[in-house]
Structure formats: structure tokens, C-alpha cells
């Protein structure tokens, strides 16, 4: 097979970036979400408002920060505020999009980043925990999930609901007291883009990435991803788009080489 001009990571980052609409606000996490938000700002969404949990608001980030709190997040920002501010205005509804990843996900978009194993007291693998993840999932108007998909991490039941997706299904977020009408919007993996059905809140295929066999979707998931009769094919990134991505992450910290 001929060598493609982009990698799967490039495709994921660029596809994710395209969902971020201009003149909206996005709460940005470490790694691919940062790259996607930076990419969107340099292309179709120059007025995308970036928000970082440690306090930066509205930066025009120049090179990829290592952390959501380091000084790179404040480059040409309109404000370097405080966590209390950014978390509070998210709670009152000012954050349109969040952007998360996870070690495990289920069909309702619930995410685990806390531990793997049988027992929270004696974890087999201890992960970092919520960080700002739960806050982003709880308080944003909606959020995107970007993660690599395997049968092992697309699970029937997550070990631990670190950050809430649709919990146990329709109405569960509201019943728990979470702000109304929030929840995961889309999941972007190396195989495709998944949405959540309005009536069941279950994950379904929205667009298949170019060159991917549709059977790979469920072959690489431990729960059933609904495949509708009609789904789109994700557009391939252009050479220019890939070049821009590399410019934003020249060392390959998030996108690899």
C-alpha cells in the first residue's frame, strides 16, 4: 500500500479541530485537544476562545504547551486569570466545548482515568485521576472525546466513572443533578467519528475514516457501536493541513513524527 501523506493521529487531530466552531469557547486539555484547538484557531475558527483550567483565557498559543498551566498557555492571551474564575464561569454555562480523553470508555461515553483493576484500594494500574476531566465533563455545554480505540479500552462497563458521559442513559445526568443538556457530543478515534443517539444516548457511527473497513468498528470494541444504514466518510486531511499541524507541534510532542 502506498504511504499516506498523513498518520492516524494527524487525521484524528484535524477531524476533531473541524468540530470546533468559530466564536465558541473550548476548555482545552493536554496533548491532542490543545493541538486541535490551535489548529481550529489557525484555520476556520480564528475567534475560537481557548480556556485553560489553570487560568489562561483567549490565548493565541504559539507552540504546544507541555502543561495546561505552563506559561506557553498565556501567549497573547486576553487574560491570565485563575482556576476559580475559569471553573466558575464554566459552571455558569460559558464553556461551549470540553475536550477529553480516557483510558476506558463505555457506550454512554463515561470515561475512566482513575484506575484499572478489581479494587480501588488495591489498583492494578493507578492512573492520574480526574484532574479537571470531571469538571469539563460535568460543566461544559458539551464535550468531545478523542482517544485511540481498542477492544480493551472500549469496554462494556468502565472500571470507574471518573468523568460522566450519559451515565446509565437518557435522563441520568439530569437526575444526578448535573447541568441540563450537557454530555459527550462526539468520539473521535482512529477508525471513525461516533455520535450519541438522541433517544438512547448510545454511541453510533457517524463517519467512517477513509480506508477503514466498517467491520473494524465493532471488531475493535467490546460493546456494540450502532452502525446506521447511512454514515459519512471522513474527509482526508490535505497536505496543507498536515503541514500546519506539524508547524504547531514542531517537536512532535503530541502528534509524533
Amino acid at each position: 500500500m502506498a504511504e499516506l501523506h498523513y498518520t492516524k493521529t494527524h487525521l484524528m487531530a484535524i477531524t476533531a479541530a473541524k468540530f470546533l466552531k468559530d466564536e465558541k469557547s473550548v476548555f482545552v486539555g493536554t496533548g491532542l485537544p490543545m493541538i486541535a484547538a490551535m489548529f481550529a484557531q489557525r484555520t476556520h475558527a480564528p475567534n475560537l476562545l481557548l480556556i485553560f483550567e489553570a487560568g489562561s483565557i483567549g490565548p493565541q498559543v504559539k507552540t504546544l504547551p507541555i502543561s495546561v498551566g505552563d506559561s506557553r498557555t498565556g501567549y497573547r492571551a486576553i487574560s491570565v486569570s485563575v482556576m476559580h474564575d475559569n471553573m466558575s464561569f464554566s459552571q455558569s454555562g460559558w464553556t461551549d466545548y470540553g475536550f477529553l480523553g480516557g483510558a476506558e470508555i463505555d457506550m454512554y461515553g463515561n470515561l475512566n482515568t482513575t484506575y484499572i483493576g478489581e479494587d480501588w484500594n488495591n489498583p492494578k494500574v493507578r492512573l492520574p485521576g480526574s484532574g479537571g476531566g470531571n469538571d469539563v465533563a460535568s460543566l461544559s455545554q458539551g464535550f468531545f472525546i478523542i482517544m485511540r480505540q481498542t477492544k480493551r479500552n472500549f469496554v462494556k462497563k468502565v472500571t470507574f466513572i471518573t468523568s460522566p458521559g450519559y451515565l446509565s442513559g437518557p435522563g441520568a445526568r439530569e437526575a444526578a443533578g448535573l447541568p441540563a443538556n450537557g454530555g459527550p457530543l462526539k468520539v473521535i478515534t482512529q477508525y471513525g467519528v461516533y455520535g450519541f443517539q438522541p433517544d438512547t444516548k448510545r454511541m453510533y457511527l457517524e463517519s467512517l475514516h477513509p480506508g477503514v473497513d466498517v467491520n473494524e468498528i465493532n471488531a475493535n470494541s467490546s460493546f456494540e457501536i450502532i452502525i446506521p444504514e447511512k454514515y459519512a466518510i471522513t474527509p482526508e486531511p490535505t497536505n496543507e493541513e498536515v503541514a500546519l499541524l506539524k508547524e504547531l507541534d514542531p517537536t512532535g510532542m503530541a502528534i509524533g513524527k
Partner: protein
């Protein structure tokens, strides 16, 4: 108020607001010279078993000089409020300081990957995670501690296992009748914060990147400031609106230039990824961690000798240039990651 659910996590750092007022009533408001050595500040204000929190953001504006000194003095059994714990908590665990953690974010190094040292300690049972929380949750615990109220109501964490393993409670909001999460306030026993500059009385000026220090400084029962620079009180009075932490909240002031190294000090110097990379590599094993401690903590007499070992003033000037986007980033962990092929 009807209690709808209760987290099973252990409650730490909470004090009855009246007990906290009594504690505060005994503290001096006097403008006195609070300068001392980091050795004396740690000896005087840190006790085994304390509930501790660090200012800054895990690897941004961290009081590393204080961490190294606590390790040198063999402080033990601290309960860490791990509000974005990154390099700080990892080195603290490696140095044997911590036995319990309330986790918002710990055992990770953001883009650098997971922290082997902290992770090994939890997986082997040496360090116990006693409760989970989110970043906003932690910061609002400090807000409650600063406000002198027993809890802060919030809409985060609801419905999640993070809440179920936290020390929060869910009640019915008497107005909307919807479930609401109550976060218990926190007043940590000891807090270290590294600032760009302050006067000898502890009045601290910032250049942004305050994160949650405003709340944390006011919630702290004992507060030690390490600072890049000590400035004259007149400068504070000329621009009092720049003061983020007024000195009466402060117990001790320690001048340590480059005191956040190898962590980022916004506006001054960027991460020293070579030293952080060496830590990430060596701290994968207990022997390596010990060796690292011998080299950088026990093997030096103070922070300036440590800086010498890390490359001295030449290195510091490079990190200053890096902060100003005038030098390329050197990161051994990144080279390794890319060599391994990264993700395709």
C-alpha cells in the same frame, strides 16, 4: 436538608469553622521580618502527619527548595492534597514524605506520560489514596476554607465514581430541589508557595499564573513563602493592587532564586526537561530513586549547590531564554518517545 448520597472517601483537612476561627485568632497580624532559611522554615512549621498542599500547579511555580529540604529533614507521614500533583508529589513520594493522598490529579506528568515513582508507590500500597476529587473540587475546598464556611455547593462531580470515592455529600438544593454536591472546606496544616517576589513581611506580588494560590494561601493554617526575590516594602505600597497574598497570612519568607527549578516559573524560566527527564528515568526503580536523592538532595548542602549540579548559571540562562521562546526545547523523554515510533 435531605442527604441524597455520601462519598466514601476519607475526610481530611476539614475543621469546624469556629475551631478554625480560634486558630486564626491566635495568629499575629504584626508586620515583622519573617525571613529565615529554608532549613529553619521546614523545621519550625512542618510536622510529621501534617495535611499539606503545594501552591502553583504541580510543575509550575513549585517550591522545590522546600520539597528538597523536607526530604533532607526526613519529614514523614504527610497527607497530600493532590491538587494537580505532578513533579512536586512525585519527588515528595520518592523522598518518603507522603503516606496518604487525596487525588485530583496525581501520578502523571502531563505530556511526559505517567509518573512511575508515584504510581509504583500506590500500586505497592506504600502510599494510600484515601479519596478522589476533581481539580475544581479541590480548589473549591480551599475556597470554603478561606471563606470560613463548612462547605461549598457545586454542580461538578455529580453522578460519578469520583464523587462516590470523595468526601463530598449530595443533598437536595432547598431552592431548585435538584441534587447538589457539597464539598467539605479544607484548611491544610501547611502550605508552601513559590512567588516571583515579596517583601520581608511576606507581602507577595505575582505576574499572573496564580492558579488557586489566592484561595490556598488564605485557607492555610501555616504558610511558608519561597520567593525568587525579596523587594522593599515601598515597592509593595507603590502598587498595592499587585499584592495577591498580604503578609499577615504568611509565617515565613525564604529567598531562593530559581527556587522552582526544574519546574516552570512563568515569566522567568521554563521547565528543565533534562533534569525532569533524568528523574522520570531514574525514579522507575527504588534504587534509581535513592540514587537520584543521593545525587540531588542528600549529596548537596543547599539549593545553590543543587543548581550547580544541574548546570549552574549557564543552564539557568538557557531556561530563561527558553521561557522567552529564544532557545529550542531540549527534552530527553521526547527524543525517546519519538525514537520508539510514537503513535502512527
Amino acid at each position: 436538608m435531605k442527604i441524597l448520597a455520601e462519598g466514601q472517601g476519607k475526610l481530611v483537612g476539614w475543621h469546624d469553622p469556629d475551631e478554625q476561627r480560634e486558630w486564626v485568632s491566635k495568629k499575629s497580624r504584626a508586620m515583622v521580618d519573617k525571613r529565615m532559611s529554608i532549613h529553619d522554615a521546614v523545621e519550625k512549621f512542618v510536622h510529621d502527619g501534617d495535611v499539606i498542599a503545594m501552591g502553583g500547579f504541580g510543575h509550575i511555580r513549585i517550591s522545590m527548595a522546600a520539597i528538597y529540604e523536607m526530604i533532607r529533614q526526613k519529614v514523614r507521614n504527610l497527607t497530600m492534597l493532590g491538587k494537580t500533583g505532578v513533579h512536586d508529589i512525585d519527588v515528595m513520594i520518592g523522598g518518603g514524605l507522603i503516606s496518604q493522598v487525596e487525588v485530583a490529579y496525581c501520578f502523571g506528568h502531563e505530556l511526559r506520560g505517567l509518573s512511575k515513582c508515584g504510581r509504583n508507590a500506590v500500586e505497592s500500597g506504600k502510599v494510600k489514596v484515601i479519596s478522589e476529587i476533581s481539580n475544581a473540587g479541590h480548589q473549591w475546598r480551599f475556597l470554603g476554607g478561606m471563606m470560613g464556611v463548612p462547605f461549598i455547593p457545586t454542580r461538578t462531580m455529580l453522578g460519578s465514581d469520583t464523587l462516590r470515592k470523595s468526601s463530598a455529600k449530595v443533598v437536595e438544593d432547598p431552592w431548585s430541589k435538584k441534587p447538589i454536591c457539597l464539598l467539605p472546606s479544607a484548611n491544610p496544616d501547611i502550605v508552601f508557595i513559590h512567588v516571583p517576589r515579596c517583601d520581608k513581611f511576606g507581602n507577595c506580588q505575582y505576574d499572573g499564573y496564580i492558579v488557586e494560590d489566592f484561595e490556598l494561601a488564605r485557607a492555610a493554617r501555616r504558610l511558608v513563602i519561597t520567593t525568587e526575590e525579596i523587594i522593599d516594602n515601598e515597592r509593595i505600597r507603590e502598587e498595592p493592587w499587585k499584592t495577591v497574598i498580604p503578609g499577615f497570612f504568611v509565617d515565613a519568607v525564604v529567598e531562593v532564586k530559581y527556587g522552582s527549578h526544574p519546574c516552570n516559573m512563568p515569566g522567568k524560566y521554563y521547565f528543565d526537561e533534562e533534569i525532569i527527564g533524568e528523574w522520570l528515568e531514574m525514579s522507575k526503580t527504588e534504587e534509581g530513586t535513592k540514587e537520584w536523592m543521593e545525587k540531588y538532595v542528600f549529596g548537596v548542602k543547599d539549593f545553590s549547590e543543587y543548581l550547580e549540579k544541574c548546570g549552574g548559571i549557564e543552564k539557568m540562562h538557557y531556561l530563561e531564554k527558553l521561557e522567552r521562546y529564544e532557545a529550542p526545547l531540549k527534552a530527553p523523554w521526547l527524543e525517546k518517545k519519538l525514537k520508539a515510533g510514537g503513535k502512527k
